[in-house]
């Protein structure tokens, strides 16, 4: 089959005005979206994350109308209940409903992950864009700052930060992002360095456009694909980091439920009630796996290097 873009390749006579087709324009975004949609597994993984995110957003409704438990409601008559009709996924040592806590925990885990990615991308993109576009001493200063940030062992920084600030979802996101933006800045700077060599940047300058316009209208759209890929692959990674911090007691503090601290809590009852470990573990595993599969699908669909 001849693709739609073949039609335009037939050059027309110099003065000729063709009868234009009504075929929709093939923007890069349309084509990438089509490629992504064609990837069944990737779409499935993305849908799973969307479902988890929707459940997390609607956690109070789930609590009120579906499970009929609050995440911190203690019921000492119902400790270590097995999964069943009363507690669908069982209860913990204080009789708290596991399903409800997983749903509320999704708020924390996914919320922190998305927020962290958003902060890392915003800061990293700004820094990388300025460094790559202006070069010279601005580049030197900003990139040495990035080198410094990336040279600090993350775990020590996390420990220090969680001592200084009592971790809540927002401070936790800021703490994790304070390390994550460096990699994004490097990525964006590299892309900008490559994109700004292309003639259309010179063409834009030749018509008198200001730097801000050049960066916002030309450089950003051209580095956006790598940002989208970085974001989709980043979510899974950050869920893991956040869970690890919670597990170590450096993250979200009990009694607030998070997937990570549910694991910590369940550790002591591993042999007695294995599902208390298995459920948050499987949830984390599934979410991270889905994020990575989705991230890879996004990369396959959006990577600019696959297409001019």
């Amino acid at each position: 089959m001849i693709g739609p873009s073949r039609v335009a390749e037939l050059d027309m006579p110099s003065a000729g005005i063709e009868t234009g087709g009504s075929r929709p324009a093939q923007s890069y975004w349309n084509e990438s979206w089509e490629r992504l949609r064609a990837n069944r597994i990737g779409v499935g993984a993305g849908a799973l994350i969307l479902v988890f995110a929707a459940i997390a957003i609607m956690a109070p409704l789930v609590s009120a109308f579906i499970t009929h438990y609050q995440p911190q409601t203690i019921n000492l008559d119902q400790t270590f209940a097995k999964p069943g009709s009363v507690h669908w996924l069982g209860s913990d040592e204080l009789g708290r409903d596991t399903l409800t806590r997983l749903v509320w925990g999704a708020r924390v885990s996914l919320g922190v992950a998305f927020l962290t990615v958003a902060i890392s991308l915003t800061v990293g993109t700004s820094v990388g864009m300025l460094a790559g576009y202006y070069g010279g001493w601005i580049d030197d200063v900003l990139m040495r700052l990035v080198d410094t940030v990336l040279a600090i062992p993350a775990i020590f920084l996390f420990i220090l930060m969680s001592i200084l600030f009592r971790p809540n979802p927002f401070t936790l996101a800021v703490i994790v992002a304070s390390v994550g933006w460096g990699a994004v800045a490097r990525l964006v700077r590299g892309e900008v360095l490559s994109v700004k060599q292309r003639d259309f940047v010179l063409a834009t300058r030749s018509i008198g456009a200001r730097d801000t316009r050049l960066m916002a209208r030309h450089l950003l759209p051209n580095v956006l694909p790598v940002l989208i890929v970085a974001a989709s692959l980043g979510v899974g990674q950050i869920i893991l980091v956040e869970a690890a911090l919670d597990f170590l007691g450096l993250g979200i503090q009990p009694p607030t439920a998070s997937w990570g601290n549910m694991l910590t809590n369940a550790e002591s009852y591993f042999f007695r009630s294995g599902w208390l470990v298995a459920l948050p573990g499987v949830t984390i595993f599934t979410t991270v796996l889905a994020s990575n599969i989705f991230g890879n699908a996004v990369r396959d669909a959006f990577d600019p290097r696959l297409k001019s």
Partner: protein, 340 residues
């Protein structure tokens, strides 16, 4: 053409008979940075003392080998590259160091057409936005008027106005080049630097683009600096031709004159390298083959730049830089021992 801001800054009355662009002793040097601390280890003398005049309404062809500084010269004249020394005058006004608002006003009078029709259009923008960007940048039109102007520009370059909402990758090289030309025309410039606009195109398309450029020139009274790397291409379109070698202008002459009677040995060798599509003539003619490679622009030869490869070079050529001297009407060449 509406009156532009630059017109107000003219100190001396500029008339149509004066050169539109005057370049005096223009130098563009790029530092060669080496090592970790970026210490400067000399300069690339990309443009090294160029004097040139471009008359209003003419096409000045600029030829030379790759790396001789012709693109840099073109970009410097329209102030996309900072000059190291010398002066650039546009319509009698010194624009060598104008900045800010005056430079932006100048951008409405000069435009550029690029060599690579693939790299010179932003792949994430629609054709309409590419052609409309100069209109937006200078606030020339809004809303419906803007759309109408974009359609008109596309029509002028022989494109279907309906293509405005398509993306560059949906078009062929020739069509993309038309889009680039439409963008250049959007500000209604007087002067356009054409940086090898047809080098990247199929031969069959080259003629179309050349014809389009010529039509536009007579329609909009444009002045072109037409950069190319071989003489056969510029012969057709140029009124006068300047030959550059290693950052310097070697010869300037009316196109016909340059072909009939080149004075500089470098021009002579370039002309003898043009293939003639007739085997009998091709067999019988004498070739001037140059020895060696172009000298390094970081450390150019003393005296005449071309002497290291010149078949006519004598000791004197190493001692003094030959100035551009007059050889008949409008014919200048920089050589101590010119061809007859």
């Amino acid at each position: 053409m509406p009156e532009t801001a630059t017109a107000k800054h003219i100190t001396r009355a500029w008339t149509v008979n004066d050169p539109l662009v005057t370049v005096g002793d223009l130098k563009v040097w790029f530092p060669v940075a080496t090592g970790l601390i970026q210490r400067s280890a000399g300069y690339v003398h990309a443009v090294d003392g160029v004097d040139l005049e471009i008359k209003a309404g003419e096409t000045l062809g600029l030829v030379g080998e790759s790396g001789c500084g012709k693109s840099t010269l073109g970009r410097t004249i329209i102030r996309l590259v900072e000059p190291t020394g010398g002066s650039i005058k546009f319509k009698g006004e010194d624009i060598t160091h104008v900045r800010g608002g005056k430079l932006r006003a100048l951008r409405r009078e000069m435009a550029m057409i690029f060599q690579d029709p693939y790299a010179s259009l932003d792949p994430r923008q629609t054709v309409g936005d590419i052609v409309g960007e100069p209109i937006d940048v200078h606030g020339l039109a809004k809303g419906k008027q803007r759309q109408e102007r974009i359609r008109e520009l596309l029509r002028v370059v022989g494109m279907n106005p309906r293509y405005a909402d398509r993306y560059p990758h949906e078009f062929s090289g020739g069509q993309r080049q038309r889009i680039g030309i439409a963008r250049a025309l959007a500000v209604e410039p007087q002067f356009i630097v054409c940086d090898e606009p047809i080098s990247a195109l199929d031969v069959s398309i080259q003629a179309q683009i050349i014809n389009l450029l010529e039509n536009l020139q007579s329609k909009f009274k444009l002045t072109y600096l037409f950069i190319a790397h071989d003489l056969s291409v510029v012969k057709h379109i140029s009124n006068r031709i300047a030959v550059m070698y290693l950052g310097k202008v070697m010869e300037v002459a009316p196109a016909g004159q340059l072909y009939k009677r080149p004075r500089h040995p470098y021009t002579g060798s370039l002309l003898s390298a043009i293939p003639i599509p007739d085997p009998a003539v091709e067999l019988g003619r004498e070739r001037v083959l140059l020895k060696g490679d172009v000298a390094s622009p970081v450390d150019p030869p003393s005296g005449c730049r071309f002497r290291t490869r010149c078949p006519r070079a004598k000791p004197h050529c190493a001692e003094e830089i030959p100035p551009l001297e007059t050889f008949g009407q409008e014919h200048l060449a920089a050589c101590f021992y010119p061809l007859d």
